[in-house]
């Protein structure tokens, strides 16, 4: 497991990092937690000429809510930071419930939330959560910042719309229209395994009524899937059985899995539908407890 030769840079500001990326002319890569990039390099699936390590850049490692409820996650926030956060479950139950399902404890201490979205692995859990929440990535390049919704940010398997000299500096999740509810379910063969199939459900509720909904699907297509029609089927409902049944069916239809050693395409579609139902009934159960 020996990577090809590469140069290593460790800038201490976003601007310096962008300058190095510009200089790299497409041959340089950002190194965040390294939990995807390093494995690819050791297998020589990736052979960047230069690594731009952003871990020494201050100010990128915090997460929290603005006064208006907008939630920001900096580029160096690790999976483990989210997993251990005591305030996150109130703001973002979906992210909180997914955090302990991403990879294994060792990977979680290094891997970053934003890096995972940038990696655009169709089996990555965070992009699905972001799609469900209608979240965006803030990218900074030589000409300043821009914000891209994650559903448009992921351009294909392992591809994003980031230019070669742009850095994703934070993930932004808009404020809820009501009370936030939802969760993440993932079928994995073992802890640390990527999803055979995963579903993220994000709901904004007024009482028992769904104001807004988002559903993201993991591992069941060539890229993260935004199950918009399925989510729409829940909006305005009170998660009645037929609305949920309908959403589950639409989510399964939105998925496009392939048969492989993790299971057949039919099985994965069935899991998607099952998980949508389970997530909805978990929300109902939680509500019943509150009421």
């Amino acid at each position: 497991m020996y990577p090809s030769r590469f140069n290593y840079e460790a800038p201490t500001s976003v601007e310096a990092a962008i300058a190095l990326l510009t200089e790299g002319d497409g041959e340089a890569k950002v190194l965040a937690g390294g939990q995807s990039l390093i494995p690819m390099m050791k297998l020589r699936f990736a052979s960047p000429a230069t690594l731009i390590d952003i871990n020494n850049i201050p100010g990128l490692d915090s997460h929290g809510a603005d006064a208006d409820g907008t939630y920001r996650i900096g580029a160096l926030v690790r999976h483990a930071d989210l997993e251990k956060s005591t305030t996150l479950p109130d703001h973002l139950p979906l992210i909180a419930s997914a955090a302990h399902l991403v990879a294994d404890p060792i990977v979680r201490t290094r891997g970053t939330f934003v890096g995972s979205v940038c990696h655009a692995d169709p089996q990555g859990d965070w992009a699905s959560c972001m799609v469900a929440l209608g979240g965006s990535i803030v990218a900074q390049g030589p000409n300043g910042k821009r914000s891209v919704e994650v559903k448009d940010f992921v351009a294909g398997p392992f591809q994003t719309v980031l230019a070669h000299n742009e850095i994703a500096i934070e993930a932004v999740i808009p404020a809820a229209k009501g009370t936030r509810a939802g969760g993440y379910l993932k079928l994995e063969r073992r802890v640390g395994d990527f999803a055979t199939a995963g579903v993220g459900l994000a709901l904004d509720m007024s009482g028992s009524t769904v104001n807004n909904a988002g559903i993201g699907l993991t591992g069941v297509g060539a890229q993260t899937i935004n199950a918009e029609a399925a989510a729409a089927a829940l909006i305005g409902s009170s998660l009645e059985a037929d609305a949920v049944e309908n959403a589950a069916r639409l989510a399964a239809e939105a998925s496009n899995p392939r048969s492989d050693h993790r299971g057949s395409a039919d099985f994965k579609r069935h899991i998607i539908a099952t998980f949508v139902k389970r997530l909805a009934s978990n929300v109902q159960r939680a509500e019943a407890q509150v009421a």
Binding site: M1, R190, G192, D193, S259, H261, G263, S264, F267, H270
Partner: protein
Amino acid sequence: MALDEIKIGGLGASRRRVEDNRFIRGKGNYVDDVVLPGMLHMEILRSPLAHAKIKSIDTSAAYAIPGVRMVMTGEMMAARNLAWMPTLSYDTQAVLATDKVRFQGQEVACVIADDPYIAKDGCEAIVVDYEPLPPIVNPTQAMAADAPLIRDDKIGQDNNVIFDWAVGDREGTDRAFAEADLVSEISMHYPRSHPSPIESCGSLADYDRSTSKLTVYMTTQAPHIVRAAVSLVAEIPEHMIRIISPDLGGGFGNKVPVYPGYVMSILASILLEAPVKWIEDKSGNLISTGFGRDVYLKGQLAVRNDGKILAVRMHTDSDHGAFFADAQPSKFKIGLMHSAFACYDIPSAHLTARGVYTNKSPGGVAYRCSFRVTEAMFFQERMVQAAADDLGMDQAEFRRVNLVKDDDFPKRTPFGFLTDSGQYEKCLQIGLDAIGYDDFKKEKEEAKARGRLLGIGISTMTEPLGAGNSREYDILGIKMFDSAELRVHMTGKAILRTGAKTQGQGHETTWAQIVAHELGIPAEDIVVEEGDTDTAPFGMGTYASRSTPVAGAAVSMVSRKIRAKARKIAAHLLEVSDEDIEWELGRFYVRGAHDRGVTIQDCAMAAYSNVPDGMEPGLENNAYYDPPNLTWPFACYIATVEVDPETGVWDVLRLVAVDDCGVRINPMIVEGQIMGGLTEAYAMANMQFITFDEDGNCVGSNYMDYLLPTAWETPGFELHEVVTPCPHHPIGAKGIGECATVGGPAAFVNAVIDALKGTGVRNIDMPLLPDRVYEALQTGKDISGHPPVKTD
């Protein structure tokens, strides 16, 4: 004044493992830790294709890279008559491919360079022109009339069949089947698995032209056999070869064979006159080295209505990959598969076995089992459960009817082995009581009424551990016995060496305990050394749970020789005749005068300072031990599970293990072996396999796809013990290293199948992945898992 045996760390003491001192401090010394001056590094280029003709290999670009010292190809090896090497099963295996590649991951070339990064760059620069051939990934394809011939290198080989073999009593079995009330039949595949030690294979070869001596640091479980093999293959005199197997990061059978990488590093060292290190990467280990299992069964039991099994019929088709490289006694073609049903009283049995070549990696090593007994016992226990279900009889009761009774020993097994001891029903009863069998059956019915699926699975088995005896067991004609050498120093401290090779089993701890038991020298005063062929006595190595049954017995015997000499010295010191000397732990005394005595340490000092006239000075000896029989531990494993009908996911509720491995030398280590084995059993049942797609690509070439369970999902285990001493072993011990790996999988699978009872499903091939269980529930049909894996 006899010593307290537990206090001195003797038999029965749960002494902490002395080797852990260095391991937990990061001070272990593995092959990759060894650094020699001027050392070069080797990397292997492997075939991306499963079956292809090699049209050409262009190494010029690799040679152009600064730091590349040499590139070796099959052609170079052939010029030295080293392109092929013998396997452990009288076949040949390519060291570097010359004509064609026969499995994905096969060795095609290697690069020796100043550092491993450059060597890897060199491999990437080699251009190989392949002409793809149709790949074969299972026995059905291999035996098809129009199947391409995989081994066209072998004269006289005109199909893909390696052997057709039979054992047992065909006529008697046929007669019994004709009389049966019921014939229960079941077919299944035991999937290919991989021993997957955390440390992969590697070697550091150092040929010194000035002394003509070859020293090789090597990841091997059997250093002496390797020395002999290298001597024969490389035509270097045996005394000029030193194999050192330092600390090993696990073996599990994977480090028994001689691999092409070892041979290449040795030749490279000779040609370059420099030490050459090869450390295999994880994928290289998983895709090219000795696997386990990959056997298809068609099994039949002839049963009487009262539950009595009258006869067994088994047919196996085994997939050996591209070269027949199984590590097994040469008399037996499918290992000890015919040890199946050894714990049951069954009058007749017949096994036919066919082995085939496929375009998959070779190996067929005993992955934590004694030569295919894992398959034998899994098939046995799955067949037993199916027959009990077919008969409508309780699975515990069905076993009770057929288990060999305590007073029946010695007892011939259905295929003719001789078992000698055990308390099978007692073990089963302890297991049933511990799990609360009757209560669970009630709970299961109640849960079913509420839509929940619970199941309970039993696995009972005895297995043959500890090959030899040497009459019947050999590897490539080398007889299977073992040895120990003990030197007691003048201050009463000692060094013990054996021909075995520890790789996690804790020999450094337990061997000292055996000496402590025999001589009363505290275990902490004894250092244990293994693995260096220049210092250790000859031995066949450690695998097949044979260390305690064979080398461990030799440790006892050499200690007794030392004691016999010390007794003479004691008589001399006490000025009485030998016959008047009595022994208690650690001390000789004069019969009738208990306070007149000398300690073993006194005798040691005298051996170097005051021996009687005519006696050779010194206190050291060796012993070779050829066991009269195998040892036959017994185990009963019972699992309870809950299956989620919506997802096919199943969770283990409880696992109760009752093991009878005779006398336990270090109970803590024994329990560790059982827990490790159960973890592997759970892995194989639940998640782990190496499979292939239709192009022969290995699915499971890394730890993201070849799954090792973590502490997170591994269930807790409840251990119980029964002790029936082995009647022929000097301290009554039986093998234990593999019982749980061997007997465990069937308990889990039987439990899941039990949860599905009533759906029509009789078998799901391992691993019982959620999609397989779900599909079985949906269709009510058996689920086959053989390759190629379904993809789209």
